[in-house]
């Protein structure tokens, strides 16, 4: 019976699927490893399952700048009224998904693919306060944490208060990149506001936006200015990891996946460890989006379905890249052996992640915090 059913579905699928050789264009923000992921793993897998089609990928660079370039690309084509856009799938940071949805660039495809049901986490529905439900599928979830050198930091600080005390005793040993040049510094500042801002973090993360709250932050930013004077400023995400690696600072905020891939590539000593301080530091997903005017929409949906299937999430996202999966963990865990699964949680346990893994504040608060930092803490 089962075999008959499978055969029927296969026949149906073959009959319905148009057999045409198409080229799928994927544009992805993020580091080089995002491009490598598609070139070395996902692309060949997809091409094997869909013979005759090829996948090509373009990387736009790390950080917000990379996602901004993708947004601008869409904007240019929208304004030029292009009939068929040149991108089929894009991978962008959470911050940019909201504006894209509001501008009407995207296709609501999540309900059309079966893996769409495998995500129940809130950040697949809301992106910094904008409803993006149905338009995005998370590729992976990332988290920031404080990386430290156990040789120099015997008792790693477990909360922001402990960090402030530690930094006072060890001047210039803490390093972060401010808010320009890298999001690890930004997430540190967000965590600082969660800790000392006087506003309930849940309100910051979920809204509603209340202009009056911004007045509560003056003390927090005065403290941050003082703290920064005692700290070392680093030139960006890579800069923090650089200085950590060279022993010029002992502790600093990093992206967990960037930390692990630097260790794997031999640019960071293997002794360094991670800790997430209370009340928490934010992380963010990166999302798969499909432009509404893309040239190969069905193929694009198949691609995203493959990328968010439990097997690929286990093998590709968790095992190869040490990212936290985009779909719910309970679907991914059975596909992995225990050792690989536990590697994700060497320094940060699942409980820690649940307690201290926060999201970024909603967009209006996000912007207000950044501007307040520029005005009060950076001058």
């Amino acid at each position: 019976m089962k075999i008959l059913l499978k055969a029927m579905t296969l026949a149906l699928a073959l009959g319905v699927t148009p057999v045409s050789a198409a080229e799928l264009t994927v544009v992805t923000a993020g580091d080089q490893n995002m491009v490598d992921y598609i070139n070395e793993y996902l692309g060949p897998l997809f091409e094997k399952q869909n013979p005759g089609n090829t996948v090509r990928v373009v990387g736009t660079g790390p950080g917000d700048a990379g996602s901004q370039k993708i947004t601008e690309r869409f904007e240019a084509q929208a304004k030029a009224n292009a009939e068929k856009w040149d991108t089929d799938v894009a991978v962008v940071h959470e911050k940019f998904a909201g504006p894209m949805v509001e501008a009407g660039y995207l296709e609501a495809y999540r309900s059309k693919i079966d893996t769409g049901k495998l995500v129940s986490r809130a950040n697949a529905d809301m992106a910094l306060g904008t409803n993006v439900s149905g338009y995005v599928m998370p590729m992976f979830n990332s988290q920031t944490a404080l990386a430290y050198n156990p040789a120099l930091v015997a008792n790693p600080p477990k909360s922001y208060e402990e960090l402030v005390a530690w930094a006072k005793e060890h001047p210039k040993q803490f390093g972060y990149n401010g808010i320009k040049g890298g999001a690890s510094g930004v997430s540190f500042v967000m965590g600082w506001v969660y800790a000392f801002g006087g506003t309930d973090p849940n309100k910051l993360m979920n809204g509603p936006f209340d202009e009056a709250e911004t007045k509560n932050w003056d003390n927090a930013f005065a403290g941050l200015k003082e703290f920064t004077r005692n700290a070392t400023l680093t030139p960006g995400n890579a800069g923090t990891l650089d200085l950590l690696g060279r022993g010029e600072i002992a502790i600093g905020p990093v992206w967990v996946d960037m930390f692990y891939s630097w260790q794997a590539d031999g640019r960071l000593p293997p002794e360094l460890k991670l800790v997430v301080p209370a009340p928490g530091m934010p992380g963010q997903p990166m999302h798969y989006v499909i432009p509404a005017k893309g040239a190969n929409k069905e193929l694009a949906e198949k691609f995203v379905a493959l990328a968010t299937s439990p097997k690929v999430q286990a093998e590709g996202i968790v095992k190869r890249f040490n990212w936290y999966p985009g779909i719910d963990a309970k679907y991914v865990q059975p596909e992995l052996d225990e050792a690989s699964w536990n590697k994700l949680f060497t320094d940060i346990s699942p409980d820690d992640l649940a307690k201290y893994g926060k999201t970024f504040p909603i967009a209006p608060y996000n912007k207000a915090i950044l501007e307040a930092y520029e005005r009060q803490a950076a001058n």
């Binding site: 917000d64 700048a65 901004q68 040049g181 030139p235 960006g236 650089d242 010029e248 005005r375």
Partner: protein, 273 residues
């Protein structure tokens, strides 16, 4: 055909390329600079000055200082290439000075980031050669790093132009001065430089313009505030999506550069007429 008309016709293709492919999109951007909160006005400029005036001054100071240093080094190197008396030393110098020119700015930024750091390659070599102790080692990852990056990359460019101009000078004047007993430094300053001053200024202005619009170097080397205008523009666009202030900052940058170039052009016009 009158000379003027012919002149215009010859210049037109080049101008047309710039006008259509850059000035037109730029115009749209500039209009955006004056647009804030759906009204037209100077709101973006006010914000730019409120938040970034320190950075504007910093940028002008850094780029100006770098230009001066580049000028000094280029004159020294080109001068030696022209007036140097040991053929082997001159040949070595000629081969040596050009290398930094081929390295893109992004690579310069990245390479210097690990070279100039407190525990970077430079300090490691100096410590290894016992010229420096670990305590004395300091990192250059601030405005000094930016200046070093600019000088490193742009000096060969200006030197190339300058050496060529010097090589074409009439050796007669130089030799006459030597025979009269003038030192080479004096010849350089009083005889050679006045004749190649125009080339030097062309090279320096082109360098100034290039340095004002480099983004990778300040992002990769300078962590502190103040930082350069380009880094602020990138931040404004990527973090806030705020094209208004970004374009306002761009106009400020353009204004500074245009002033410098205008001064040069006025100078040369005066000389010619």
């Amino acid at each position: 055909m009158s000379k003027r008309l012919l002149g215009l016709v010859l210049v037109l293709p080049a101008l047309a390329v710039i006008a259509l492919l850059f000035l037109f999109p730029l115009g749209i951007s500039i209009v955006g600079a004056f647009e804030s909160d759906r009204r037209y006005g100077l709101g973006n400029f006010e914000k730019a000055f409120a938040l970034y005036s320190q950075d504007v001054i910093f940028t002008m100071a850094i780029v100006g200082f770098s230009t001066l240093v580049i000028g000094t080094f280029s004159v020294a190197i080109a001068g030696y290439l022209t007036l140097g008396e040991n053929p082997r030393a001159v040949a070595i110098l000629r081969w040596l000075y050009r290398w930094p020119m081929f390295i893109p700015f992004i690579v310069v930024g990245q390479v210097l980031r690990t070279f100039l750091a407190k525990n970077g390659l430079m300090n490691n070599i100096l410590i290894g050669a016992s010229i420096l102790t670990p305590i004395q080692a300091s990192g250059f990852l601030d405005w000094r790093g930016i200046v070093i990056a600019f000088v490193w990359k742009q000096t060969p460019f200006v030197t190339l132009l300058l050496a060529g101009a010097m090589a074409s000078l009439d050796r007669g004047t130089i030799e006459a001065a030597r025979n009269l007993g003038a030192s080479r430094l004096r010849i350089l300053i009083e005889i050679v430089m006045p004749q190649v001053a125009t080339t030097l200024v062309v090279g320096l202005i082109l360098s100034f313009v290039t340095m004002m619009s480099v983004l990778s170097v300040p992002l990769m080397i300078n962590a502190q505030s103040p930082t350069m205008i380009t880094a602020d523009i990138a931040f404004r666009i990527n973090a806030y999506g705020d094209y208004g202030v970004a374009n306002a900052l761009g106009l400020i940058s353009l204004g500074v550069t245009a002033c410098v170039a205008w001064i040069y052009l006025r100078q040369t016009m005066k000389e010619r007429s």
